[in-house]
Amino acid sequence: MNISGLSFNALPPIDLPFRFFLSGPLFIIACALLVLFSGEALWLSRWQPNMLALTHGFTLGFLTMVMMGALLQLLPVIGGIGIAKPRIIATTSHVLYCAGIIALMLSFIFSHHWLTLTALLLLSLGVGLYLSAIIWVLLKKISQGDSINGFRLAIACLVIVLLLGVFLLTNRVGITVPFMTIDIHFTDFHALVGLVGWAGILIISVSFQVLPMFHVAPNMPKYIRQYLSISLFVLLFFYSIYAEFALSLIFISHGIYAVTLFYVIGQRKRKVADTSIKYWQLAAATLLLLNVLYFLPDSFYVPAQTPLWMALPDKGMLLTAIFIYSYLVSVIQGMLLKILPFLSYTHLQQRCLIDFSAMQYIPHMHDFLSKKQGMVLYYMHILSGLSLIAVIFNPSLYIVFAILLVIEFLWLLTLMVKCMRLYFSVNQKINLSNKP
């Protein structure tokens, strides 16, 4: 009979995940300024130094940043165990990680060896520290759900991405590893494991939990929960041998996941209008669109042969941009709209177990983040997503994309700050009421 704290852990202090969340929009705003000052040339190739800075600003500065913060909370909620010494580990890894991303982005832009070395050191230490704390939890005998198994695969992918990134950076400063060929295929593998393995598998695994939990939806079918993440993980390694074949199956797997998402969302018991659900639907529709774009004949992408009134732009850039912005960023934003008010509310609510009278101070969930504020963010995200596609077709529109990006992520930052301020003011009220 469990009576006291034996094999579990409470939620880590709220300011720890929040510092990761708050940093995310700041990096996107920095990316928007980079888009603004880089001009049309940025969109000519994925190898443009500023484009490398931009993609890493998005993927490390926003996507990975928010996911790192969310995992701190998700592990105790789903697995029953959180990381050890959360304050010192989260604070140190966050500082090193933020400084590392800034150094990395600057190293791409200015191409200085000392900046690359600084980025290498800071990112290895920051991500390494965070990963070791998370791996310590995932190696334990925690709740053996499908989500936790997915987390393990996603974290394994993050380890691989980090190692590949270290090789790529050391190669930039002239240190070569004899048995490794650093070529375009190597970089593609780095990007694919990061986007599909780390971010993709993590999102899929999180969806197995959050859709039934937050939206009272039925569980995803058992075969999807058991085999989707591991199939994607295996396909990533097939990619190094049969690239095209593996990539086709990766797209099809995401298509199946998208159909399942639509099905599960449609089966909810309480079909209340919800912005997070709209984000999941947008993400699912994006995955289906990506399948169409991927399997279109190559002639659609060649100006002289296209049956359309104009050829589609560079396939790699178009698919990657849509995958990152309309799929990954959409899901993360939708999740933030749920997590921000929920975490604030639940941390305050747990204080009421000691003093029931404190319930009177807790505001309504919607006071932390209203439905209307969430919907404004959603429409801003659709607009900026369309402007991103427009820029890939016509790079001269970059100013529109940059401005929409700044507005959207300033709004997200405002919502986060508002939510945090309300949390701390109510927390303070409860503290004062407890004083004799």
């Binding site: 939990m213 639940t346 000691i354």
Partner: protein, 92 residues
């Protein structure tokens, strides 16, 4: 020991926690709260223990758990009513 039963399995967060807290605040001395839920509320456990509550969780399957919550001072009383599997309002 009287059993007060609440079913939060079809509620979206944070409603389950609200129902649990409200039920605990109304729970009479010597009574026990039985919460039926779809998942274990892991982060709640440590807070319950800190606040002087004891609990026992029965995980029936992946989507069905029973959580008994009572005051720590009522531990012996609870053990008189609970045989490890079922709760009986008249002492065993």
């Amino acid at each position: 020991m009287k059993l007060v039963i609440v079913d939060v399995s079809e509620l979206a967060p944070p409603e389950p926690m609200t129902v649990i807290i409200n039920s605990l605040s109304d729970l009479k001395q010597g009574d026990c709260l039985l919460v039926t839920h779809r998942r274990q509320p892991f982060p709640l456990y440590e807070k319950l223990a800190q606040a002087g509550w004891a609990y026992h969780c029965q995980a029936h399957d992946d989507e069905n758990i029973s959580l008994y919550i009572y005051r720590q001072i009522d531990l012996l009383l609870f053990e008189h009513h609970f045989d490890g599997k079922t709760f009986q309002e008249s002492a065993i």
